[in-house]
């Protein structure tokens, strides 16, 4: 549990000629839950992809425990950094248990089958996502929410120290959203897994995150604890909307109420 200091220095990345990330500096808070906020197209997914070596930065450096990512063996990175991408392909005909077992690839030996550790990790991941009942179903027969939980289980089975999740709750109803965020919180508490996720619900973000990053146009405009950075001003900067901020009566975290044009509300 020591390979989890992930630092990006002045990284730039983009698609073809188009530069998206403009000189981003981030030190991912170790053993904490961080949430990245930002409007659509602000570069959140691009940043996660760059951290997970799906994109190579055109400038700058990302280091894991002080070693540049490019100098670490891919399989070793895969033992430390996991990602739930924003979209996943469900391969035809494959059963849920086998799909989750794909997450064990970085831990597997060259010619052997799944061993005891593998089975344990798969079982824990499937139990955590409450999909043990689906073990023998084909992935392409599942609902969007069920699929999402299967793919999160795949990422959990990888047993990484750092886990990135790009909009993990997007297809889920509120009950599953809370359930999954609770499970991730538990994972963070029990194993100290560093979790970084993109969420669109600000109020769930402030409730679960230890730390928030706000992105706009490929740059990091704010970072800090929810109470530090969630202000009416920040919300306006990120999303361009007016809002009123109160306290969540349960968790005492900031609670954002957006102002609609029909509200006749003058701030």
């Amino acid at each position: 549990m020591n390979s989890n200091t992930l630092i990006a220095k002045d990284i730039q990345a983009g698609y073809g000629q188009k530069n998206i990330l403009q000189s981003v500096n981030i030190h991912i808070p170790e053993n904490k839950i961080s949430v990245i906020l930002g409007s659509n197209g602000s570069g959140k997914s691009t940043m996660l992809k760059t951290f997970c070596r799906l994109m190579t930065p055109t400038a700058g450096l990302i280091t894991l425990d002080g070693t540049p990512l490019s100098q670490i063996k891919s399989k070793d990175i895969a033992k430390s950094i996991g990602l739930l991408p924003q979209t996943s392909i469900a391969p035809e005909g494959i059963k849920v248990a086998e799909l989750v077992s794909r997450g064990r690839y970085p831990h597997r030996q060259f010619m052997t089958g799944l061993n005891k550790d593998d089975y344990k990790a798969i079982e824990e991941a499937m139990e955590a996502m409450k999909i043990t009942e689906l073990a023998d179903r084909s992935i392409d027969e599942l609902s969007g929410g069920q699929r999402q939980r299967v793919f999160i289980a795949l990422a959990l089975a990888q047993e990484t120290d750092i886990l990135f999740l790009d909009e993990p709750t997007t297809y889920l109803d509120i009950a599953y959203q809370i359930e999954i965020l609770d499970l991730l919180k538990e994972l963070n508490k029990k194993r100290g897994t560093t979790i970084v996720m993109v969420l669109h619900d600000i109020n769930l973000s402030t409730k679960y995150a230890d730390y928030l990053f706000a992105m706009k146009d490929g740059t990091l405009i704010k970072q800090g604890t929810p109470s530090e950075i969630i202000t009416e001003d920040t919300i306006r900067k990120i999303y361009g909307i007016d809002s009123v901020i109160i306290r969540d009566p349960i968790s005492d975290s900031p609670f954002v109420i957006p102002v609609s044009a029909h509200d006749n509300y003058l701030s």
């Binding site: 950094i81 248990a97 060259f110």
Partner: protein
């Protein structure tokens, strides 16, 4: 504990796969025996074994020099086409993909036909040229598909274009060649097991077994590729390297098999889907598609030689299977509401 049987399904699917492999293997064995025993003159299996082991000289020429090379060529070319087809379908995430897409077989065939019709080369030299031409064609197509980054769609488009071009070129060569040479060239057009010489077999067998073993070593990587390049990378797989190695191995398989038997139609295209149908989608299906490939070629040759009013090359028989399968896929995809 309530999850004692969480992995029951996984284990039973694994068992079922191994059982299917055994059954497929038995079918290969039976078809092999049929091809060895039945023909112009029928021999008992015992007689065949006696002749093969040199304890008897009864039918020695027919069994040792004609049927054995023919049946071995059927098995190993079937394995080559079957495995390579399955690898391509996995890589391109498309059930209709086949290595023909990358131009190996059309490149080999065009070169072979050219050598036969215009250069009057002998058979072994033609095979060498065919292998080289097949490999070169696929390298060219792969390079084009890889211009900026790998694109399966570009590969398929360029591949189909190249194939059409070669087919036109082959037709033109046949039209302008002397009638006398055309039958020899035609055997290249639709895979054929006639006149396989024993000399060419050891190389084919060694190449097929080595490539097969190498592909089996990559099975853990292969099963993650259908999740997409992103997932495979996150899991620590060197996607581009694995893909290139798999394509090179398949191209070698196809090139060598084509050089000896010609392009036996539909095997590469059908073996993977049939293997998946029988064994499910949970493993890489390397061995199962190999065995299905061998079965299709052995059975196709048996039908073409013995069951019809006149003898047909194996490629004609297997080619007949391709059409109905395409229609089946189209109907199935239409029902699924996607195309």
């Amino acid at each position: 504990m309530k999850n004692n049987n969480l992995f029951e399904g996984v284990k039973s699917r694994r068992k079922k796969y191994i059982l299917s492999l055994v059954v497929l293997w038995l079918i290969v064995l039976i078809l092999f025996c049929l091809n060895m025993t039945i023909g112009e003159k029928n021999y008992s299996p015992l007689q065949v074994i006696n002749t093969l082991t040199g304890h008897s000289s009864e039918g020695a020429y027919l069994i040792n020099k004609l049927r054995l090379p023919r049946s071995l060529a059927a098995v190993f070319s079937g394995i080559a086409f079957g495995v390579a087809g399955n690898v391509f379908q996995t890589l391109l995430r498309n059930p209709l993909a086949s290595p023909d897409i990358i131009g190996v077989s059309s490149g080999s065939t065009a070169a072979a036909v050219y050598c036969i019709l215009f250069l009057n080369m002998n058979r072994s030299l033609v095979s060498v040229v065919a292998v080289i031409a097949g490999v070169l064609t696929s390298v060219l197509i792969y390079k084009i598909a890889y211009i900026h980054s790998f694109s399966a769609n570009r590969l398929i488009l360029v591949g189909i274009g190249t194939q059409a071009l070669f087919t036109a070129f082959i037709s033109w060569m046949i039209m302008s060649a002397s009638e006398y040479d055309v039958p020899t060239a035609m055997r290249w057009m639709n895979g054929n097991l006639n006149g396989i010489v024993t000399d060419s077999l050891p190389l084919l067998i060694v190449v097929v077994i080595s490539c097969l073993l190498a592909i089996i070593c990559l099975r853990h990587q292969m099963v993650s590729l259908p999740l997409g390049d992103s997932y495979a990378t996150i899991l620590g797989i060197h996607v581009n390297l694995v893909r290139t190695v798999l394509i090179v191995l398949s191209v070698i398989l196809i090139a060598f098999a084509t050089a000896i038997t010609g392009p036996i139609a539909s095997i590469a295209f059908l073996s993977g889907p049939i293997a998946k149908r029988i064994c499910g989608h949970n493993q890489a299906n390397i061995l199962s598609s190999a065995l299905v490939g061998a079965i299709l070629v052995l059975a196709g040759d048996f039908v073409g030689q013995h069951l019809l009013y006149t003898r047909f090359p194996v490629g004609v028989i297997t080619g007949l299977l391709g059409g109905p399968y395409l229609i089946y896929v189209l109907v199935k995809q239409n029902k699924g509401g996607q195309l």
